[in-house]
Symmetry: C2
Subunit: 259 residues, 2 copies
Amino acid sequence: MADRPLILVTNDDGIFAPGIRALVEEMVPFGRVLVVAPDKPQSAMGHAITIHHFLRLAPVGLMPDVESWSCSGTPVDCVKLAIYKLLQGSKPDLLVSGINHGANISINVLYSGTMSAAVEGAMEGIPSIGFSLMDHSIEADFGHVRSVVRSLVGDALKHGMKEGYCLNVNVPRAEFGPLKGIRVCRQAKANWEDEFETRRDPTGKEYFWLKGEFRSEDDGEDTDVWAVHNGYVSVVPTQYDMTARQGIADLKDWDHALE
Amino acid sequence: MADRPLILVTNDDGIFAPGIRALVEEMVPFGRVLVVAPDKPQSAMGHAITIHHFLRLAPVGLMPDVESWSCSGTPVDCVKLAIYKLLQGSKPDLLVSGINHGANISINVLYSGTMSAAVEGAMEGIPSIGFSLMDHSIEADFGHVRSVVRSLVGDALKHGMKEGYCLNVNVPRAEFGPLKGIRVCRQAKANWEDEFETRRDPTGKEYFWLKGEFRSEDDGEDTDVWAVHNGYVSVVPTQYDMTARQGIADLKDWDHALE
C-alpha cells in the first residue's frame, strides 16, 4: 500500500463540483488519493495566495476511503496546505487539478485557479497536470474526459515528467463528437475583448460586471485553440519561468546608466 | 496636451500606499496620468480577476490635476476597468505598476498583483513596467528608486517596447548603498520553503497562517536574485506565453492514443 503513488487532487470550482468528483474517481485506481480543494468557487483566482487572512481546513466526506479536505483559501493555498500542513513537507508523487468546468486554453492559463494550482505543483517539483473541459455547465458531461485523464495520468506515472513545467490539458465538449486524439501544443496568442456592464444599485450608485469575449487571431495549427476547435485534446507544457529570452537581447540597446 | 503620452498607473498595495504616490509623482512630467488602484491591499493576488462579484470605482483626490480612482477589485481588475470602462476601450501609451513595497524577484512574479497588472498590460499590447523595492516597510525610502523609474520610463517612451512581454524591475533597498547600475536578467530558479503556523480560536478550532522562507539555489550571475543582492537593479523581460518549448519535444515520446 505504501508503494502506491500518492496523488494530490485540487481544483478551482470547489470541492463539491462534479468535475473534481470525476477526477477523484479516476485517480483511485492509480494510487492513494488526497483531496484538498476550495470550500467555494475560486475560478479566475489565478496564482493568488492568502496572506492577509488565516486559512481553515475542514474534513469532507467526498467519497469512501478518500481523505478529503475543504479549504477556505485559493487553489494555490490548497496546494501549499496539502504539502506543508497535511503532508508535513513531503511531496505527493503527482498533482492533478480539475476537471475544470470551462476551457483554460491560451492566456486563460494565467487567470485560471485550476491551472495555477498545477503551476504551483510544478514549482514544488511535483509532476502536475491540470484538466479542463470546454463546458461551463454544472451538468457538463465528463464521460469522455475520463479516458483522457486515464491516458495522461498513466503516461505521467509511467514516463515521469521533467521538472520546470506542468501540463495544461483541455478537452472539447462531448457534443463536439468523438475525440480525434491528443496533440501537444503551444499556448495560442489570443486576448479578451472585455466590456463592463454598468448597473445602478437602489441608491443610484454605479457598479460594474465584467463581461468579455475571447478572441484568438493566432492561425497556427500547433496551438491549443486550434486543437480543441478541431476535435483534439490539447496538451500545453506550461512553465513558471516567465522570462522572455528574446527580450533580453532586445533590451541590450537601452541606455542603462542611472542619473 | 493631447500629444503627451497617456500613462496608466496601478499597484497592489492599494491607492494610499506611499509607493504609488512616488510613482505618480515621477510620471507627471512624462505625460497625462490616470491612476486606477485597489481600495485596499491586494498583495499576492496574482492574476486574479473578479467574476463572482461586481466591481466599484470611486474618485480619489490623490494629488492635484491627476485623475485617480480607487477600485474594489484586484490589480488586474484595475487594468481592465481603466481600459474598458474609463478609457472606453482605447489603450494608454504606457502602464506602470508599483512601486511595490517588497521584492518581486524570481517566482514571486507569479504571486505578485503588481507584476500581474503589468503582465495584463502586456497582454493588451501596452508597454508595461512593474517596479518593486526590496523593502516591505510602509516607511520605505523610495528616493533612490525614483531615478531608476525616470531612466526606464524614459527608455520605454523613447525606444518603445516590443510586444509579448513587460518588464519586472526590482531595486535593492536604500540601506544597501548606491546602486551600481541596471542589469537585464533572467528570472532566477528559486522556491518558497513554506510553513503554516497553527493557532486556535477561542472555541479551540484550528486556523493557519502562511509563513515562508524564500530560497534561491540558482548560482547564475545572469539572474534577478544575483543582481539585487549585488547592488544592481534587475530588469527581467516577463512574458505571458507560458509554453515550455522544451517540453513540446519531451512529450513527443508519450503515447497519445486514447482508449
